[in-house]
Symmetry: C2
Subunit: 86 residues, 2 copies
Amino acid sequence: GDPAAGRAKAAACKTCHGLDGVARIPIAPHIAGESEVYLETQLKAFRSGKRTHEIMSVIAKDLSDADISDLAAWYASIAFTVQMPE
Amino acid sequence: GDPAAGRAKAAACKTCHGLDGVARIPIAPHIAGESEVYLETQLKAFRSGKRTHEIMSVIAKDLSDADISDLAAWYASIAFTVQMPE
């Protein structure tokens, strides 16, 4: 997918997930740096109904394959580093 | 939950998710720094069957509420920072 196109399409996602993939609400997952295959699998699962959520099922319903591929590319393009507690 | 207890119990998770929550395989999500409520919700969904996955459904089946709470506390305790592409 095209990350730049995905960044624009992420306007629909950023309220809960953030444009940077850092969730703004605790019930939403952080998706920064998730792999494209994981993100695409989950969005397609929400679209097909294999996975359900009161918000994501509605949002995913109208996503095209290109939308899904671009959104996955955008969020996968965000780098992250972790620090484990001592 | 107790992050230290969760860290020990994460022996069952680290093969795919990493002890640090950075996924080792592309089909598994990064779970570093996810919120406790999100992690607990997903583990309970896998345990109850509300959410299904060939591996997670099996692993979650035998998790107690305490296991779920401790694992969520461990992975939620991992800090992370993100860098958006320019």
